[in-house]
């Protein structure tokens, strides 16, 4: 497939209903996103098999890479970067509550105390 630009110039697409303020990424951007996601996954698995897994930085590095992958998929594949702000609020609001609850529960059950 050529490097088409996926733009909503087609009058048959209900852009307003889809809530998109801007245009979708291009085919080239989609390819780059897939490549970056694959590379991050390869690095994640690779460091799992290296002595770095015993380093105190192992978990933070993995969490950062996972968060980057999460954000890339949400922003580009789910088009949240280009979507209406109501959709952003509907996703980020519950996500913040979910992450806060998860963190609070882990503190509550002593998962950060080093005893478990």
């Amino acid at each position: 497939m050529a490097d088409h630009e996926f733009r909503h110039t087609n009058p048959d697409i209900d852009v307003h209903a889809m809530g998109e303020v801007h245009e979708h990424p291009t085919w080239k951007q989609y390819k780059w996103v897939a490549l970056i996601l694959t590379l991050i996954t390869v690095v994640e698995v690779w460091i799992y098999y290296t002595p770095f897994k015993d380093s105190p930085l192992f978990v933070p590095v993995l969490l950062i890479m996972s968060a980057v992958k999460f954000a890339i998929v949400v922003l580009f594949y789910m088009h949240l970067k280009y979507d209406h702000k109501l959709f952003k609020a509907l996703f980020t609001g519950p996500l913040i509550i979910a992450i806060s609850t998860l963190t609070a529960l882990l503190f509550l059950f002593g998962k950060f105390s080093g005893k478990h």
């Binding site: 209903a17 799992y48 969490l63 519950p94």
Partner: protein, 217 residues
């Protein structure tokens, strides 16, 4: 009725946005909290199992009746993670194919929404196959949902995710059947967009599970 009128035929809303798209984002938001609770449970119970098998540690007598290896299979799961990431790429290409149907460059197989919907469904099924293989091998190695805390929380978390992937594959096959029967037109892009959002959400949940459950010891 002209196609332009038909495409804007959703009932007027206070936000000006289609309720279906608002609903799927609200649903995805609620699903975030569901999976956060399941992941929390897994992490809280992690390391508290009295008997093996364990996820990352070898189990020897007297804790276990016999020698048991660490049970998580990272190579297989890495492959299934890659498969799911590629399915997300196929899904965005399916949406693009529907949006751009009839435009130059979208006549061939790689511009066909049928091809990309089928590819996404096949990749999703491959992921489910890997999960079925993993679950079966765990049971053969002595880990069931009733064996220990790790087994209970692990099978619940990954089982819920697998059920979501299964629902996504059925949704994709439904769209494919509609596409084969009458052809998905640009005015149907919202239908594909909504299913794509669900599919990508299933993908991002797995991104979190892969790191938190499989890679972090």
């Amino acid at each position: 009725m002209s196609s332009a009128v038909a495409s804007h035929a959703h009932p007027p809303t206070s936000t000006g946005l289609d309720h279906r798209k608002i609903a799927i984002w609200a649903f995805i938001g609620s699903e975030c909290m569901l999976f956060a609770s399941l992941i929390s449970t897994y992490l809280i119970y992690k390391g508290r199992s009295v008997v093996g098998p364990f996820p990352h540690e070898v189990c020897d007598p007297p804790v276990c009746a016999t020698h048991l290896n660490a049970i998580l299979n990272i190579p297989v799961t890495s492959f299934s993670t890659f498969v799911l990431l590629m399915s997300s790429l196929a899904m965005v290409l399916a949406l693009a194919a529907v949006e751009n149907r009839g435009k130059p460059g979208y006549e061939g197989i790689f511009g066909s929404s049928k091809f990309w919907l089928l590819t996404t469904a096949i990749l999703g099924t491959t992921f489910l196959g890997c999960q079925a293989y993993e679950f079966t091998s765990f049971v053969h190695e002595g880990l069931t949902i009733r064996t220990n805390l790790f087994g209970s929380s692990f099978f619940t978390l990954t089982g819920f995710h697998g059920a979501h992937v299964t629902a996504g594959v059925l949704w994709l096959l439904t769209l494919l059947a509609i596409d084969i029967k009458r052809g998905l037109q640009p005015k149907d892009a919202l239908l594909v967009d909504i299913s794509a959002l669900y599919w990508h959400f299933v993908d991002v949940v797995w991104i979190a599970i892969f790191t938190l459950v499989y890679l972090i010891k």
